[in-house]
């Protein structure tokens, strides 16, 4: 089944949804979800770069002979990006927890101690 350009369109859609969430939502947890959406879109884009049509996984263990393999480098890039995303999300959520303890609210428009 030929997917054509569909994965790239889905990736762009995810990034656009993520940017929309960052711009228009007020809850801090929703902002973190928006960043996570953008990261997912970019990771999907990175993995799709290596796909070659009718390719199998790029692993030599128990590999059937004579088949074309997809590129392994984008998979390494995506894995690194997922790990970085994990660390970023953990840090952002920790800050959200502390903000809730200090201000009692998670609404961006009401946390305005820093001005100017």
């Amino acid at each position: 089944m030929n997917l054509g350009n569909l994965p790239f369109i889905v990736s762009a859609l995810l990034v656009v949804l993520g940017i929309y969430t960052l711009l228009f939502k007020r809850n801090l947890i929703k902002l973190v979800i928006g960043i996570s959406l953008i990261e997912t879109g970019v990771n999907l884009f990175l993995v799709m770069l290596g796909y070659r049509s009718k390719g199998i996984a790029p692993i030599y263990t128990f590999a059937p002979a004579g088949e074309r393999m997809v590129l392994p480098t984008p998979q390494a890039l995506t894995l690194t990006s997922i790990v970085i995303g994990l660390a970023t999300t953990a840090l952002l959520l920790s800050f959200a927890v502390f903000i809730w303890r200090h201000y009692g609210t998670l609404d961006v428009h009401r946390i305005k101690e820093l001005k100017g």
């Binding site: 692993i59 263990t61 128990f62 002979a65 994990l86 953990a90 809730w100 303890r101 200090h102 009692g104």
Partner: protein, 156 residues
């Protein structure tokens, strides 16, 4: 997240916890042959830990958590990774000294599709273990802080 869940959940999770641990260690160990490796296996083991925290709650696990031990193990994992990087500094940093050398993890790797030799690839499985240790203890620490420590207290 103080209270745990019902009896059925607790019994099943006690049983499944061991299976998840075995699978996680398998993924770490075979990182140089099949998909997986340090981070992926470490995340699986940490999810087993998160399962326990959700099933038993903070009160149920009160006596068994040692945050200082987790932190020390995390640092040991990181230092082991850097030490393995410095191992081949005579040639270059991160040089794979043990590969194809006949010693620990030193069997030679056949070219092309093969049946997977566990004994090969030199410092790679050792680095997988170091990274896996760091990731599993690191994510477990994050899970502890977030699920158990996130209570609304007054600010000092």
């Amino acid at each position: 997240m103080n209270g745990g869940m019902s009896v059925i959940v607790r019994t099943v999770s006690r049983f499944v916890y061991g299976l998840i641990l075995v699978f996680g260690f398998y993924v770490i160990m075979h990182g140089h042959l099949t998909p997986g490796g340090g981070f992926q296996g470490g995340a699986v083991v940490a999810s087993a830990f998160a399962l326990l925290v959700v099933a038993f709650g903070a009160a149920g696990l009160k006596g068994r958590l040692n945050a200082h031990l987790l932190q020390s193990l995390e640092e040991i994992g990181a230092l082991a990774f850097l030490a393995l990087g410095f191992l081949g500094i005579g040639t270059a940093f991160f040089y794979n000294l043990l590969a194809n050398s006949g010693g620990l993890f030193g069997a030679s790797v056949p070219i092309g599709p093969n049946n997977g030799v566990l004994d090969s690839a030199g410092t790679l499985p050792l680095m997988n273990w170091a990274v896996g240790l760091k990731v599993m203890t690191g994510i477990a620490s994050i899970v502890i802080v977030m699920l158990i420590g996130a209570r609304k207290e007054e600010v000092k």
